[in-house]
């Protein structure tokens, strides 16, 4: 059972970058009528999203966020010994984007750098990996970058997904410090549900071909996508979340000895406001302790939890705060953490 406990490691700074290009869902009518756009927007509660302009990648967003945080906190780059880049929309198939970022950020060649490719659970997963490495004595500072351009993953002509996803990048600096105390993680996987959220074509199982890039009508509603677009079985994803997430949180409560109501903030992956509202109700969490940014940025996959922190909790993590982080999605993969914040600096959001 992947239940982990770490001591005296924590996040000391965070920043985020989003594209300035704002998509207003009420007016997202290139492929849908204004009536449809209004109906979908009212139902999802996602008012706006940010779309990276052509040529801008998730690593560009992370680079801007990292430079902002490094400048604001006056971080000595030579002290960054670990760089992890999280994304499922990397710059290239190879080399790993983390290595490009090592060079671009001007970090030492002695920086351990690697990518971590998970979706909506990835920030929590990556945090557990970084905490594990930082608990050792070798590293001084770790830089965790998490970026996604999900706007390019889904078809603009598939109403099931066209109004949901957006782009963003975040940076977090992780250090040792006795003030952070203990943190707890639960990490999970269920590959039997690989078909619930997927981009089938374009990898090595179903390589790119004329067939995989050809757009097709895929259902009786006239939705159109290709095999290189993502799809999502929304109802079953919701079933999955209801079945797996509350028990995972209970498991972590039992393992950590920390009671859920004692926490200050509950940060869920921002996929669906209705679903998060239901989770909060089921777990009896007060809504004012469940920050949300889905209305402004949509679903940004793994970026959504840290983007919620940066956009909603700026200035609120200076005094000691305990938070739950809970990410779930494509895989299926899900992870829950209880971590402590204290003197965590959060930069203003950067736009490029």
């Amino acid at each position: 059972m992947a239940l982990l406990k770490f001591s005296n490691v924590g996040i000391t700074g965070m920043a985020a970058c989003v594209p300035a290009n704002t998509i207003v869902n009420y007016s997202y009518t290139d492929n849908f009528s204004a009536e449809d756009a209004k109906e979908i927007t009212d139902k999802t509660g996602i008012l706006e999203r940010r779309f990276a302009l052509p040529g801008v990648t998730s690593s560009d967003l992370c680079f801007a966020a990292a430079e902002k945080m490094i400048a604001d906190l006056n971080i000595d780059k030579t002290e960054i010994d670990l760089l992890v880049f999280v994304s499922q929309t990397p710059d290239y198939r190879m080399p790993a984007t983390s290595i490009l970022l090592q060079n671009r950020l001007g970090l030492s060649m002695r920086t351990m750098s690697f990518d971590l490719t998970l979706g909506c659970s990835a920030f929590v997963y990556a945090l557990s990996v970084v905490y594990a490495l930082m608990e050792r004595s070798g590293f001084r500072k770790a830089l965790l970058l998490d970026g996604e351009t999900r706007s390019r993953v889904y078809s603009a002509k598939d109403r099931k997904t066209a109004f949901l996803f957006g782009d963003g990048g975040v940076a977090a600096i992780i250090e040792r410090g006795e003030r952070f105390g203990e943190s707890f993680f639960s990490l999970n996987a269920d590959g039997s549900r690989e078909d619930l959220i997927k981009v089938k074509g374009g990898g090595y199982r179903y390589p790119s071909s004329v067939e995989t890039v050809t757009e097709k009508v895929i259902d009786e509603h006239g939705n159109v996508r290709s095999d290189e677009h993502g799809y999502m079985e929304g109802a079953d994803v919701f079933n999955f979340v209801l079945r797996e997430i509350p028990p995972d949180i209970k498991r972590l409560e039992a393992f950590s000895g920390i009671s859920l109501p004692s926490l200050d903030y509950y940060l869920f992956h921002q996929a669906n406001d209705y679903m998060n509202g239901y989770l909060a109700k089921k777990l009896k969490l007060p809504v004012e302790k469940v920050p949300s940014c889905i209305a402004r940025f949509g679903n940004t996959s793994s970026v959504s939890i840290p983007l919620t922190i940066v956009s909603q909790l700026q200035g609120k993590l200076t005094d000691k705060k305990n938070a739950m982080l809970c990410g779930f999605g494509v895989g299926m993969s899900w992870a829950t953490a209880f971590i402590n914040f204290e003197q965590c600096f959060i930069s203003d959001i950067v736009e490029i």
């Binding site: 139902k43 109802a235 919701f238 079933n239 209705y274």
Partner: protein, 76 residues
């Protein structure tokens, strides 16, 4: 279970001022849509502590079918 399901379904789909029946094809309800589907999933979880996956759900046509599927799950 029948009465509880009928009232849960009405509440989930926000059906007011009319009764619903076991013979109804619920996808034909004016109130049925993707959010209604999510509300029904939440209601089944909250009120009955059970889940019906999409594959099985697609085969369920009437409210009566839904009741039968739920009774079968509950007795397991």
């Amino acid at each position: 279970m029948k009465e509880k399901l009928l009232s849960s379904l009405k509440e989930a789909l926000q059906i007011e001022n009319r009764e619903i029946a076991l013979e109804d094809i619920f996808r034909d309800y004016e109130e049925w849509d993707s959010l209604g589907r999510l509300s029904l999933i939440a209601a089944l979880d909250e009120e009955f502590d059970l889940q019906i996956e999409d594959k099985q759900f697609e085969q369920i046509i009437t409210v009566g079918d839904l009741l039968k599927a739920m009774e079968a799950k509950a007795s397991k």
